[in-house]
Point group: C2
Chain length 216, copies 2
């Protein structure tokens, strides 16, 4: 069965982006420190058209995150500037350049209708205005039996978690204290969600912990 | 050099106690789920005078937490009822029974002066009213070259973290979402603290991640 999976880098104190996110700095102050372990990998560099890099225990983890993924879902803030602008009807094509690293259909949760945006490299952004459940349905149709990857950000993950729609969650726990920013786990007080630890992997500068997620 | 070390169980969403802590339920609703992995261990049962239990990857982790510890520091709420009572001048002897599992001197952070309280099994509780730094100094004197263990709770850990006085932090990350309660990492926005991941260990129902802590 097609799963909804989220693999996300998180600080030891629970933030997936630093404070003061802005158009200039969409991952917030210090947020780039969450991704250093990944950007150092040959596996990451190669998929972004670059040479060199490390091979270590994180390599197979990152490779696995890409396996059997047929489509994606993404919160609005991960696509466009926090707090606005007119990208909904304008020319904004996302933070991710002309050839985004998704290579399949990505469904953006938004309140602003917009025509689909076809990018280079197989990525097409679809803008879904009729709710997170519908976005997931459309992504699953597009994935055609493969899994759907929930790219983030924090709010989108919270929504799918609270609804019991997330099936798998992998935290890449980074030895950094951001102190403030976007907390991954928030607004979940009434959600009866159970986690089952599938595995944990120690790697240089990061610990990967993977959970099965079920309704309680 | 004598270190200040904290080894603490934490939910995947960052809580070290559940919501609605009370005299009847000092670890809050669901808080007992943070400790199930430990209570199942033969190593824990034996140290509490019980037989049986499991031996697994957590065993050496728990044994290590006890090694080279000569004294402890503890926040007020870990000793007595949240929000009050007159234990400061009364007969309250802590949550931990007549023979507490500490077996050495434990320094309680409090605003209420009280004479030291000698328990069975080698534990003596000292009540320190002149600040967290002084409590640590006294604990280090008592530890006589061994390490000092910071038992919790969340507030006490935050205070020592923010002051740059914590040297080692081990998180026992439990696959549970508590949704609410006492967050370990809070009030740290202005603390410039760096973590270095020393190791991570996968064990049944828990992942142990150990950090060196330094001032940034």
């Amino acid at each position: 069965m097609s799963k909804l999976r989220c693999h996300i880098a998180i600080s030891a104190d629970g933030f997936v982006a630093g404070p003061n996110q802005s158009e200039e700095n969409p991952i917030g102050e210090g947020g780039e420190r969450l991704h250093g372990w990944m950007l150092a990998l040959a596996a990451w560099r190669e998929s972004h058209g670059r040479e060199g890099g490390e091979v270590n225990e994180s390599t197979r983890i990152v490779e696995e995150t890409r396996e059997n993924v047929g489509a994606g879902v993404m919160g609005r803030n991960m696509f466009g500037p926090v707090g606005g602008g007119d990208w909904g009807v304008g020319q904004w094509k996302g933070w991710w350049g002309d050839d985004p690293p998704y290579h399949d259909d990505v469904f953006i949760l938004t309140h602003h209708p917009r025509e689909p945006l076809e990018m280079e490299g197989g990525t097409t952004f679809y803008f879904v205005t009729d709710g997170v459940e519908r976005a997931l349905e459309r992504a699953k149709e597009s994935a055609d039996g493969q899994d759907v990857r929930l790219w983030g950000g924090a709010e989108a993950v919270q929504q799918y978690l609270a609804l019991g729609l997330l099936d798998e969650l992998e935290l890449h726990i980074v030895p950094v204290l951001l102190g403030d920013g976007a907390r991954l786990f928030e607004n979940l007080a009434s959600a009866e969600i159970e986690l089952e630890q599938i595995r944990a992997v120690e790697a240089p500068g990061v610990t990967h912990v993977k959970y099965n997620v079920t309704r309680g």
